[in-house]
Symmetry: C2
Subunit: 725 residues, 2 copies
Amino acid sequence: MAQEQAGDDEAERGTVVTPSAEFPPLAPEERAALRRIGERWRDAGRPDELPVDPTLGRHRREPAPSRFGRLAPIEMFTVEEPDELVATEPAQVPGTRLGRGLSRLRGALFGPPLRSSAVLYERMRKLVALPILSSDLLSSVAYGPEAMLTVLVLAGGATLGLSLPLAAALVVLMIAVGLSYRQTIPAYPHGAGSYIVASDNLGATPGLAAAAGLMLDYVLTVSVSVAAGVSAITSALPGLGPATVPLGVLVIAVLLAGNLRGVRTAGNIFVLPTYAFVAALLALLVVGYLRAAGRGFAPVPPPAVPAAEGLGLLLVLRAFASGAVSMTGIEAVSNAIPAFRPTEWRNARTTLGWMVAMLVVLFAGLVVLIHLDGLAPRPDQTLLSQLGRLTFPTGPWYALLQATTALILLLAANTAFNDFPRLLFFMARNGHAPRRFLHMGDRLAFTNGLVTLSVAAGAIFVAFGGHTTSLIPLYAVGVFLAFTLSQAGMVVHWRRHRGPGWRRRLAINAVGASLSGVVLLTAAFSKFTEGAWVVVIAVPLLVLLFQQIHRHYATLHRALALHPPPAAGSAVGGGPAEGGGPAEGEELPQEVRHLVIVPVARLNRASLRALAYAASLGQPTLAVHIAPEDAEADRFREQWQAWGDHVRLEMIVSPYRAVIGPLAHYLEALHASRADLTLTVIVPEVVLRRRWHRPLHSRAEQRLRAALRALPGVVVTSVPVHISD
Amino acid sequence: MAQEQAGDDEAERGTVVTPSAEFPPLAPEERAALRRIGERWRDAGRPDELPVDPTLGRHRREPAPSRFGRLAPIEMFTVEEPDELVATEPAQVPGTRLGRGLSRLRGALFGPPLRSSAVLYERMRKLVALPILSSDLLSSVAYGPEAMLTVLVLAGGATLGLSLPLAAALVVLMIAVGLSYRQTIPAYPHGAGSYIVASDNLGATPGLAAAAGLMLDYVLTVSVSVAAGVSAITSALPGLGPATVPLGVLVIAVLLAGNLRGVRTAGNIFVLPTYAFVAALLALLVVGYLRAAGRGFAPVPPPAVPAAEGLGLLLVLRAFASGAVSMTGIEAVSNAIPAFRPTEWRNARTTLGWMVAMLVVLFAGLVVLIHLDGLAPRPDQTLLSQLGRLTFPTGPWYALLQATTALILLLAANTAFNDFPRLLFFMARNGHAPRRFLHMGDRLAFTNGLVTLSVAAGAIFVAFGGHTTSLIPLYAVGVFLAFTLSQAGMVVHWRRHRGPGWRRRLAINAVGASLSGVVLLTAAFSKFTEGAWVVVIAVPLLVLLFQQIHRHYATLHRALALHPPPAAGSAVGGGPAEGGGPAEGEELPQEVRHLVIVPVARLNRASLRALAYAASLGQPTLAVHIAPEDAEADRFREQWQAWGDHVRLEMIVSPYRAVIGPLAHYLEALHASRADLTLTVIVPEVVLRRRWHRPLHSRAEQRLRAALRALPGVVVTSVPVHISD
């Protein structure tokens, strides 16, 4: 039920991100409760005259004076609509010197802040959408065939011939999954990401499993693409080999910085390298096959590599699962449907068809050509680089091939930088991820999501030494989990909705789901010990985490939701009885009963100011002093008398010299004797300007605040005294 | 001037430590100001009736209900004097589960807390004082002669003969310094520590230099004594050699734990090992000299050690300075004068005489015997151990010698655990060290000082690999700095006070000061490159730090000191003018002008509770909402109307989505327009029970509080809403 509603909201709001998502609207029953609370709110005695002009003289259009006013007349607030102030850019800058410095540094690195109204809802032409959305998918052919052959070669050079039937099977898989996704697109025209489709049709838990799979997929896309990109570079320039790890970390850092900056013209950046990569690969294939035709397509025998393992079914399955990573990124289109021009789903579907066709051509072409040329994986050079050197022995073509390969892999990694924070945004909107992922930073980028992705991908990259082959076993499981769940969701969808031709559509999605499921199981089992176990363990843990997060937010929402106040007679009629309702229960001003407590350690300007503040509130007030010894208690009482005993003083001797503990317990005891009271503890706080002075002070205020946090009905008020040095 | 006063206070309060030192009394002018403030304090309209009984029903003698009351009727507060509550032991325990666990653990490790009244002012008999105070001094002979010979042997085995004239010079030095300290004792009968004597006579900076020297001395006493003690053990049991560092760290940890526990019967623990050590050494000397007499006192030639350096003046000076570490601990008596039985100074002086005599006998006896037996330092065994094996080839005597040596070195380290925190206590009382060193922990021990000492000594011990010889060069400089300053202070003292025989006394102290000064310079120069530079740099840095700390406390004291309020007409007569006096200036309730601000992010129970609390204070109130977009602003305003618009709402659109910054700047602008206002910002705070839920929330309250800390006249009030899960 809750699930369905979430799904409906999702469909309604589509996959649009908005800065207002942090402020969800009130539910209808909450609005009703709000209105009823408002009706009972007693305004009597409310001094309506404010001592200041809260509009900051907005009608006079004078700049408000401020701390920065000393340096230059900077307007912190302007008026754009008649009845509200609008904060200007300088008003973002924190008041501390450190904060200002950081803010300036951030501005220099990532550019000035962007206004909420600058959120772009750009629409893409198909010819632009194709390179943007396909970089992840097509770049996979740079490491997919190699991943497959790396496994096969373990059984000796002769086994490499098995790559042809395996490639054929993978092509069938690609087409089946492609057809399956083609059907998803018109069914979910507002965005057909696996998380949404699986949640909508299979329920919350499968949806979260798909999300977990996708999140791991995005993280690994960054790690694997950066690793493969770096090895494209080190294949061409072997001298850079030892710098693999720092190079990769640098690349991830640059990607993070670029995305924090929020590259506005991302589309145009993508167009050229993707098409260049495709062109380079096609050229490679054409020249390669011409070369092969020259010798009558006779395959060169592969080098005699000694077998490290026997050839068994497990090895073949492992090779198949490794080769399947060539399909990662196929789901990109379905996430991005709303970004197409109308009719969105139709354009998206066409684009998907083109992408799959290109994938099949490049993948199959490469595998066959590698076979014909008798190449085997080598640790120091990628297969693509070997093929390039063989095909383009002279001229700049080899260098161009490597450069475009590295570039498209970079772009593929960048795709994850777009999708990961968006996924977290949607999950956070449903309460399955921390709310902070709803927040759009200065530059309208999802800062928290970007940083999370970079840290995770960087850690994995470093942990695996930037080694593509070691990372591959982790990769396939998450991807195919999301594929399987998404397509299985579509099967349920067709069974439920039964549109025209639903049986055929169901069959296509069922084939896609089954094949993906087979690859998922194959990958999980055959590569379990090589690293897949990490993912097999991580997915359920992540699902559990998402569920716990959701439970917490749900509890919180229930606890903070507005309820209408109880019937009039019960609490408002007479004064509340001793030990009546809990102090946090009331929500009406006339029901708040005050007792003000001022802990006083010694009599100085700070504590007298706290006492004056307390007395000025005109509520019953009690001062408390904690003395370590009787002698000190007597001395303090005598000072209190000298002052004039203006406030009732309670003396507590703490023979064990603790201050915070006895005070907290005393307040708790007071509260226990009148649970309906709101105790306001007024703490004088000496504010030091310099950070290094802090260790010279006991931080008693902070410790007291921490001790009082747990007590119900205790309000803590800090009265500051600023020390200028 | 300030210095002299500090000195006078010191003399007056003696070297007594008291838990009330954290609560210094008011100066007379502050008392007068307090009285005058009290006279002008207007009580009108103060509701005197408290809604609770602040005495917790003290007259009924019923246990106050409390959270712990659920489990067992534990009384948190008892009444010992009629008009005050006394916190019982359970009231020390914090309310959180983690806090309770830590408290229980601490109780198990260090024993139950001790009451302030348990501070002991025990007096010692001379025969008890002698072992307690001399362990540090006498234990030095376990490493002093060795330190000297280790330097001499660098110029070859033949040079070892120089140890005899050097020892003679050191004996002269010991007697001169001893005589000099003898005179200090009657002059400062309340405690004649170097810090006090130097501060009193030479001024603040030399006093702080002496304190810095002493602090380094105490830290190194622990490191060196533990290192020497461990090597006494590893000499006897060579198998333990590789475990030197962990063994030493363990010993320091045990010393810390013991001192945190506050060993009450310390005296008796000290008596036996010290006398046993002296007895063992005397037996060693007697048997050794009998053996030497058997061969007609003919010296055995030392082993032929190849020379590593040429014999030069520098080497001899280094050897002399190294041997001088045998004198460390000679100042112990002068710190402890008040602990003697009356007449305190006379008993202390007698004890000092005995100690120096014993030192001279043991030191000279050992050096000569080592020479006669032709022993040279070896890395795997201490000289004392070699001498022991030679003298007691069979029987348990050798083992006993090593055991008592290890034990007395442990006790010597323990001496520093007594003196270091006391020194910091006195420095903190004068404002030269952080105030936290005034605080006596649960067990009446100076927890902070003990931990500081242990961490510093442990770090040095580990850094030097627990190697006594490497530590010695650092040692002498600090000690002799304190000696020199203390005795130079006495020279000034005699010139000023000119009692009977002052010329003779001045001469004796001058000789002591000069000789100590010579050793100080010798040690600093000759061992500069070997490690003494650390101390040469550290002492001025520490002095600078102490001075900065004192400056900060003095500023703070001035800023918080009470001043009488300004003349009646100026501020109280009419209403304060716009932009009048600063809001933190007033100290009288009738002068506080309120404006209550409630930042509201969304309408829920937490924010309505904050609004109700604000309205119940009956002061002018303004609500502020920060919206990220116009659309959200409109939606929020509409909700506000539905509620009934009970509080004036100001809407601020923050197009860059920051919340804290614009809010802080808005408050600052409001404050700038009426500087005499006290702005009370009421922040609803959702209190989560579980720690792991915290990352799911934005901590906006904490960030807002941090941003508002710097603003003058802004009071922050947290209204908690507790979430039970």
